[in-house]
């Protein structure tokens, strides 16, 4: 498939159709916790997008070069001790969870230090969210999705490259931002509403989240339609269409040709 089309599909899919929060229900904790004010929600969304991109870069690199079966680095190290065939079959993907959490936590820590030193204003506005994001499952989910698309494919040529992984991460973050900002907008309005006591607080928020998820279900199927529209037609398909058109023309000619009727 065309690379650009593939990227576009991954982007739309991550941001809207298979939205992390509203389709997979990961990252619910900040989605409920930090969606009180729109500006706070936007800050959280930006922070998540930022961290998710870094985590995606790290997890793609680690998976491709160390974890997946036949990864160059582990193969080379193992090749020193066992036969090359055995070395190629070594699979370290069992380590994915611990390694990804490790990478995410360290990178968040690093980013926090960096931002604190060089962008104090930025640190004040979303620095408080950064430690929260470390344990956010949306990040881990993005990493695991990338892993399954790098290491879990049958045909090695189908494995995602860095561009696809980063697209998934960035647009997953964008989708998270969209969801949390919509949620914050609704919750700001909800503050003025007369909510029955038993439903106040987290209860009504979860109900709203559910309705929002239902609304986002409306995007289901957009990806397959988009895929159909964007995929360049193969020569066989074009030929089939030409034949079909000729048939139609022939039928029309036959049925509407008065000369033929008289003959």
């Amino acid at each position: 498939m065309n690379y650009v089309v593939d990227i576009l599909l991954i982007a739309v899919s991550a941001a809207l159709i298979n939205n992390f929060v509203l389709y997979y229900f990961v990252g619910i904790c900040p989605f409920i916790g930090v969606s009180r004010k729109v500006d706070m929600a936007f800050g959280m969304g930006c922070a998540v997008t930022f961290v998710i991109s870094i985590a995606a870069f790290l997890s793609w690199t680690i998976t491709t070069y160390i974890l997946k079966p036949g990864a160059p680095l582990s193969q080379w190290v193992a090749g020193m001790f066992v036969s090359p065939e055995m070395a190629a079959s070594i699979d370290l993907t069992i380590l994915c969870y611990i390694v990804y959490i490790f990478a995410i936590a360290s990178s968040v820590q690093f980013v926090e230090m960096y931002v604190r030193k060089f962008f104090p204003a930025l640190y004040k506005s979303f620095g408080v969210f950064l430690p929260l994001i470390t344990t956010n499952c949306a990040i881990l989910f993005a990493c695991l999705t990338i892993m399954s698309n790098v290491a879990g494919v049958d045909n090695p040529a189908d494995a995602w490259d860095l561009g696809r992984s980063l697209t998934l991460a960035v647009f997953g973050g964008v989708g998270f931002t969209i969801a949390i900002v919509i949620m914050a907008g609704i919750r700001e309005e909800l503050d003025l509403c007369d909510i029955p006591k038993p439903l106040e607080g987290a209860a009504i928020t979860l109900v709203v989240a559910g309705i929002l998820a239902l609304a986002f279900m409306g995007f289901t199927g957009v990806d397959s339609g988009l895929k159909k529209a964007l995929t360049p037609k193969t020569s066989e398909m074009v030929q089939a269409q030409v034949v079909r058109q000729q048939d139609q023309l022939a039928t029309i000619a036959l049925s509407s040709n008065p000369v033929g009727m008289h003959r």
Partner: protein, 306 residues
């Protein structure tokens, strides 16, 4: 084969650990931010309620402001003078007299005393009821829908028969109620004593109009002003001059009593924690037990208005 996998796994993790440790250790040094040790010390001295009563976002922010921007050391209303003294000793400055600020509701009308009340069926919030005309006659007084009650994190203000009433035993003086009141009838007052005088009215209309809407509102008759210079009547509304509160304590007590007695509307009252004699006078009376919240009392009986 198994051993190779195991050692490779271990090697991967140890390798990552070494790399990350090195990077983070380097970053810790390279990106080191100097934190004023006084900020930490002040943070420890503050109560940590994060109420925002000082005007900063939280205790941490206030500590930074004191240490770095020379903010006043006595802004914490929760900690009071003790906290101010601690901070002053950390900063090495003299503490200025710090008074606990407490809210006073400048309205004294319960439902029976308010006239021209109409049934209001909109959103049960003061903020929305304030927009609508005709909820009650008085356009200055307490609406009684309890925005202040919702704003209070310490359960220290309640609506009693339509009038917001502060429980001074629970109040810490964060000022959330004063901020949220759409009619601005709650003011934060420096409580020099346990009990403070207050004029329980905010109505700036002429006496006749006040009498039309309320049976206890201030009519601006200036009786209090004539008897004690403790009060100033401006815009047909008497106000207590809290700046001269101290000076009038010695010789002005008689005058003050007279002024309070002369008030035709009985709108000058003492507010604050009950004094010992008040508590003693209630000793023999039958006080009902405090109702503990259970399912029956916490369940919402208001109508569903979807």
């Amino acid at each position: 084969m198994t051993w190779v996998t195991i050692s490779l796994s271990a090697g991967t993790l140890i390798g990552m650990a070494v790399i990350m440790t090195y990077i983070l250790g380097w970053a810790n040094k390279a990106f080191h931010v100097e934190v004023d040790p006084r900020v930490e010390a002040i943070n420890g001295a503050l109560p940590g309620a994060n109420c925002g009563g000082c005007g900063y976002v939280g205790c941490g922010e206030y500590a930074e402001a004191v240490a770095l921007d020379n903010a006043e050391v006595n802004l914490c209303t929760v900690g009071g003078s003790g906290c101010a003294a601690d901070i002053a000793s950390i900063m090495g400055v003299d503490v200025v007299d710090s008074l606990p600020y407490r809210p006073i509701v400048h309205c004294g009308a319960h439902y029976p005393e308010r006239l021209q009340r109409n049934e209001y069926r909109g959103e049960q919030h003061c903020q929305t009821a304030n927009i609508v005309a005709g909820v009650q006659g008085c356009t200055y007084g307490c609406l009684g829908f309890g925005d202040c009650v919702n704003a209070c994190k310490y359960n220290a203000i309640h609506v009693v028969d339509g009038l917001a009433t502060v429980d001074y035993n629970k109040c810490i003086g964060c000022g959330a109620c004063a901020k949220v009141c759409p009619r601005n009838i709650i003011s934060m007052v420096p409580f020099r004593y346990e009990q403070m005088l207050a004029v329980t009215c905010s109505n700036k209309d002429f006496g006749k109009e006040v009498k039309n809407v309320c049976t206890v509102g201030c009519i601006g008759c200036k009786a209090c002003q004539r008897n004690s210079d403790f009060f100033t009547v401006e815009n047909n509304l008497s106000t207590v001059n809290y700046d001269t509160y101290e000076s009038l304590k010695d010789d002005g007590v008689e005058k003050l009593k007279k002024a309070i007695d002369k008030c035709p509307r009985k709108g000058i009252v003492l507010m604050g924690k009950p004094t010992e004699s008040d508590i003693l006078s209630l000793m023999n009376e039958d006080i009902p037990k405090i109702a503990e919240p259970d399912f029956k009392t916490t369940v919402d009986d208001t109508e569903w208005r979807g």
